[in-house]
Amino acid sequence: MLGQLPILSAITFLPALGAVAILLLRALMRSEEGAVLDRNAKGIALFVTLFVFALSLVMLVEFDAGQAGFQFVESLPWLPALGISYKMGVDGISVLFVVLTAFLLPICILSSWKLEKRVADYMAAFLLLETLVIGVFCALDMFLFYIFFEGSLIPMFLIIGVWGGQNRIYAAFKFFLYTFLGSVLMLAAMIVMFTQVGTTDIEVLLAHPFARDLQTWLWLAFFASFAVKMPMWPVHTWLPDAHVQAPTAGSVILAGILLKLGGYGFLRFSIPMFPNASEFFAPMVFVLSIIAIVVTSLIAFRQTDIKKLIAYSSVAHMGFVTLGIFTMTELGVQGAIFQMLSHGVISAALFLCIGVIYDRFHTREISFYGGLVHKMPVYAAVFGLFAMANVGLPGTSGFIGEIMTMTGAFQVDPRVAAGAALGVIFSAVYMLVAYKKVVFGVITNPKLETATDLNAREWINLGVLAVLAVYFGFFSTPITDTTRASVDQLIQQYQSAQPVEAPVAATAAPAETAAH
């Protein structure tokens, strides 16, 4: 065992230390040594992120999947007057997200290896972002969660704004203000919860029964925050802008990890703490999710910018996640978590694929491309694999997530599942059409004649992701086994908290058993 070693704090704060090291290094070095500094900054960043990834794997190995509660818990008093303590811990729901974050960061660093613009700041921003995001998944204190959750806006704002594309300032502001407005409402709700319960400890709050009408308001306030973060239709409009403008690694982080904060928030706060309100609002979430799946798929079909297309497809895929979470069936919730992890891998890979051609031709217009398969056969194959995974082809991880959430939804309401299935068809339409336009056909654009295939660095990045996408397409149990105990407990807690429904359920239950 790891004994009393604070492994979660190490995983969380090592990247921040790395960032401080890079900034100190820059302060100490003379400005003419810019190239040396850049090289060192990249080296430090890669080393730290790989080390953190290794640590997270150690944690995963030590993690006891049979246990539903929080593990590796660390607790220190911090601000007793405000009831805030420094408390960290992971359970089956959060542990895999920590690993996913730690896994994607080295890939981000590697994919930005050729960056030349203000490298030290860039690496520092990414390392800070890693600290904040891992902190969100580990925090077991409500305000600590909020600090990490909201704090993650700052580095992302800088990443989009400094290293982004043409319209980056608009995108950065939109990203920041949208998410900020949602979050401050959540802050107000958290303060109300604190005055009600008198503690900010998430473990205690999970056990606290909130009054039903209060739950409604609290749920809505949290929903305002998580729905924007997810993002759900109709508050998704910041995402395409942010994605299109962000640098490749920024998009990878945004799609791969930051979007998962919303889903994680639903699972950590909304469902277990406000079960009655969740039950009450579930139909609304279903409707919004289906709209998201169908409408954004259609919008994606009309895009001429390939990055925007993937961004809209992310919104659609997140629709499956919200759908799965609010079915509150084991299959649905497991599927939602699986879908988040799988989307973390697939969307990250797709954005990297776009990064590959963007690095070469500096455009994302679909019409610019065509016939890449002749010049970049390996790239075409890898991109094809991820396009298929995004569509949800059986044998890829995308399929497992979608089928699980849809089956879960079917158990609740077949109409919901039917709506979601519509989205699967549309996703095939836009993804395959886009893939065909970019990769197949004859080369009509003379600029493409000089195309070179994947280099070693891109190979490693995409290869690792491809292995994962296929592996989890065939073997889903490593993930579902890890999450099962915690998800079961979550569902049990949710169901035991539905006393108002009791009379109805009591009359309905005998009829159902008779039918069986």
């Binding site: 601000l79 600090i147 704002f157 920041f176 407005l181």
Partner: protein
Amino acid sequence: MTVSTLLADLQLLTPELVLAVGAMALLLIGVYTKGEAKAAQRIMTLATALLVVTAGLSVWMAQGPGGTAFHGAFVLDSFAMYAKTVVYLAGAVALVLAGQYLRAEQLARFEYPVLVTLAVLGMSFMVSANDLITLYLGLELQSLALYVLAAFNRDSLRASEAGLKYFVLGALSSGLLLYGASLVYGFSGSTSFDAIAVAAAEGSQNLGLVFGLVFVVAGLAFKISAAPFHMWTPDVYEGAPTPVAAFFATAPKLAAMVLLARVLMEPFGPMTEQWQQITMVMAVLSMAFGSFGALMQSNIKRLMGYSSIGNMGYVLVGLSAGTALGLWSVLFYMTLYVIGVAGAFAVILSMRRSEGMVERIEDLAGLSQTRPALAWSMTALMFSIGGMPFMIGFFGKLFVFYAAVQAGLIWLVILAVIFSTISIAYYLRVIKVIWFDEPSGDFLPAPTGAAIISRIAALIAVSMPVVGIIIALVVNAGAGIGG
């Protein structure tokens, strides 16, 4: 009054006596020192030392029991001791920031540090006021020194305008305050806070007292620049020399806010329901004017002016709670605010080009490439003043909102969080200019004092363990009054 009671009373006033005698001595030394530049230099150093020594003295006195002096006209409780220490330190910081600026702008005259010392002396009396007379004396001593400071650059049209505007509006507010005080005296029969509290408890519906209360609050609201008494702030911040604006934004704000809190919690404590309405309206208006007003500013000092209006709104949210928790949150927020603003003005004072000081927000363009350390500092400070998590400023907001929710003012908190979203937009604009825009020219190396203070303030802004220490101090300090 025997000699022994007089001595006991004077003992409580040790910091004030040191300051008063020190200020007179400084004036004498200044007059008899040959050469204006030399005198200014010497007095500046001495005054800074004096303020630091007084701060140490008040920390040392905080170990003692405190008490009241002059038949209850002057009180030294933990609340006052805390506020005094912060005020003295803020005064010292303002002097450190001023030194090089005044020399460069040909403004170095020895009267400047003396005036700052006298203003600090006034604030020291304000936070210890336990009687309407003491309150007024302290406030006027502070204000008169500040009027002169605002117009210190007398050859500049803008500075003179700022000074005059501040003086006229300040005189008006003093008039309002005096009128209110006379009403309060008339209807309660005493100027002592303790006696007023008794009268207020007996007749909390007493119309005369309520009238007096409104006028007193209006007079004090002017000093903290809470809307609708905020009009002078942006103009004075912009017009006055930058170190003067830095001083205005820190110590006097804290002293006036502490005074307002004491007046509302102690003599008018029984009338909480009456004044709550006033402070809530002022809070909402301040947040609204502060956040919308700042959005369109291009001058960073004006921006700071509007930002201070908005921030006073948040403090008033905490004060509106009318509870001990609310009082703590006020002290806590003000402390964090003073740290953040002192740092931000240190950065503004570092904005010097070969052709002179610049103060447009655009002038910060590309700072992250030309002066990375300054850029990171300003980023941390802006986010801290804006109340972003991971900076200590967030905890100020959190505490204030918590106090208000505890008192059942949830709608006020919801308004406050919405305004905080609007206000974060203009802090983001500063960050955007620093980080996203291309450099338009480099600054000269920052003055040593400003450089050190901006770095220290930024470090405090990101070091969250500090929050625990300040909270402990504040809770200890707030135990003195209210309830």
